[in-house]
Symmetry: C3
Subunit: 281 residues, 3 copies
Amino acid sequence: LVERAQGCVFLLTDYGLSDELAGVLRATVLRHAPGAPLVDLTHGVAPFDVRAGALALARSVPHLGAGVVIGVVDPGVGGERRGLALEVSSETGPRYLVGPDNGLLIWASERLGAVDLAVHLTARPQLFGRSGSTFDGRDLFAPAAAALWNGVPIAELGATIDPAGLTRLRRPTLLVSPGSVETEVLWVDTFGNVQLSATASDAEQAALGDQGLAIEVVGGNGTFRARPASSFAAVGADEIGLIVDANGHLALVGDRTSAARTLGLEEADPVTLLAIPRGGT
Amino acid sequence: LVERAQGCVFLLTDYGLSDELAGVLRATVLRHAPGAPLVDLTHGVAPFDVRAGALALARSVPHLGAGVVIGVVDPGVGGERRGLALEVSSETGPRYLVGPDNGLLIWASERLGAVDLAVHLTARPQLFGRSGSTFDGRDLFAPAAAALWNGVPIAELGATIDPAGLTRLRRPTLLVSPGSVETEVLWVDTFGNVQLSATASDAEQAALGDQGLAIEVVGGNGTFRARPASSFAAVGADEIGLIVDANGHLALVGDRTSAARTLGLEEADPVTLLAIPRGGT
Amino acid sequence: LVERAQGCVFLLTDYGLSDELAGVLRATVLRHAPGAPLVDLTHGVAPFDVRAGALALARSVPHLGAGVVIGVVDPGVGGERRGLALEVSSETGPRYLVGPDNGLLIWASERLGAVDLAVHLTARPQLFGRSGSTFDGRDLFAPAAAALWNGVPIAELGATIDPAGLTRLRRPTLLVSPGSVETEVLWVDTFGNVQLSATASDAEQAALGDQGLAIEVVGGNGTFRARPASSFAAVGADEIGLIVDANGHLALVGDRTSAARTLGLEEADPVTLLAIPRGGT
């Protein structure tokens, strides 16, 4: 008998919660892997938004314990895109990720460690019992994840493939030069905070903030001032703050207001951060 | 001591997730049945929409393992409608369903097997500890489901009643004739896919698609062409596809667009599918 | 070795479910407390609405079993507000509550019993491993709650403080006099039911309903009639009913319609209930 994988089964999809899709996914994992602790990361990824799902998964995985991740944001379901199971060399986090080969899993996998093995989930009726081609979350990915949690070796789930050939999404824009950072909105969160692709070290490298002055933000509705701040609470009522957020990224934020709405910024919008020279207004 | 029912407690309600209603339901089950694995099927049924809840539950149950289902979409709470517990002869799925006698549970029960026993949940303060008449999910159904999960025999929960007398909803329209299927929208899912009451075998029986031609769809905003397709990915950018969905039903779908919006269709709307005759445009 | 706290970890936040915030919170609890049963009370508190979160938590706690509550509605995160862990003398409910010192936890704590110990969660990197100041749910409250569930004595989590000094929110309006109750909207639920700060005993004390007559409701869009009713089902199609709801409060309700919309009432709005004198219209 194989040994059970430790840990949880983590779920991230664009199924929403208004239908039973996420519920059937949960139930299917438990039917194949009774006793597995399920953790919903989110089912609220915008429909078909693979990039948003990939970013949310990459933000999540450093905080997960051992286990198996199922990610399903899959506009190509039923088409030629492959179903994947990945094994990563993670010390403490999830060891397996399961989902479509469309870029959803790869950033999270790399954040966890190297991809040691990639498997193309080929049709194995005795394992997956597939009944169609439109609900691979239920029919392919949940049984595969359950099998991994149950201790089935990943190589038994399909054909080993070269990790170098996995589908990748465009890398977010990030160009750092003295006094300037060209960046991009990664994420607008529930509170309207605007996460950028740039990190604190990018800002430091560009010497954006070393005079303690405000920064100029070009993007969205126009040009704005933002004040470097240590937390939301340090941002004034009518200000836009620039903070280092909980993922280590720069973020444009308001105090109990949506910075995204104030600035007119959406996910994937370009943003340029500029140092304001000494003597500037 | 009685033996504990195996499996999970599955929850489906119209409580939404913006309040603590679903949370209190979950906590109440666990307070009465510590250790029961809870699975939220959905709490997103449209408020008071018993039909939508009954359909979602019927779609879900073939994919559930052993356990007890709680269904609460219950506009008649506090009135004369009865509270129910049903025992079904299911090989692998849930054995018990608990909820109001308004049609919510019966389709799911029949999909699982025959209803062997129906019990009217009569007030039993020592078991249910009822504190009012407006939140039967918390005060009646959760304790009853927990009792069943704990192994309490169903007949101890109330008075046995005749399953033939359970409340039923109107059966969805379905009329199959040569070259024509009169059907009805069962469900518009999160992605705007339009599930119909007709199945693949209905289409076959009507010989709708045997010429490999498009099908005429009459309903919603007018008359449309739909192309039989094997999956979402096989539907062109400006097309409406007719697929067999993950529940075995015909569904009108777009490729990453909402077919419901394109066609102007809502749940319970009538739809006629017509074969286009040879030589037709 | 310390003994593990029994029961569940209950979660209430304003994180919403569209992002992975709630998921990372769940995963972090499980990473620190493997095996803890998690129960989401809700993540749908309106952003930054501490009062709504405090009321939802106070409504929930009488129905919870043993365990630890995490509450996070925390506009002041990163500022000077303290992080708290409270120990309450509860016979059957949760023994610990963790969250910000902004009034979120205190009503729930007092509903559970006396606050025996209050601890200011001071930075303890070896326990909390904090990585920033914007996501205390993940970095401070989840590890603290996990530690309590694991059996760590509360006094080890920080400095003991005086419960009398905890931050409190304004008490909702409630003024009872003969024939009149000045009250306030506590909560508009998913179905549009309007929960008031007054209870059944307040109505009795004011002798509002002792003539079996309708009651006058002043508030929102103007002046309305409401009829005392025993349940939703007893309210007529075009009526507003006044019921005793599942929390023991008076509530203005419609039959499958939103009373809040009909009356134009929102949370925290003032409402006056007036007896209609004999012979009144």
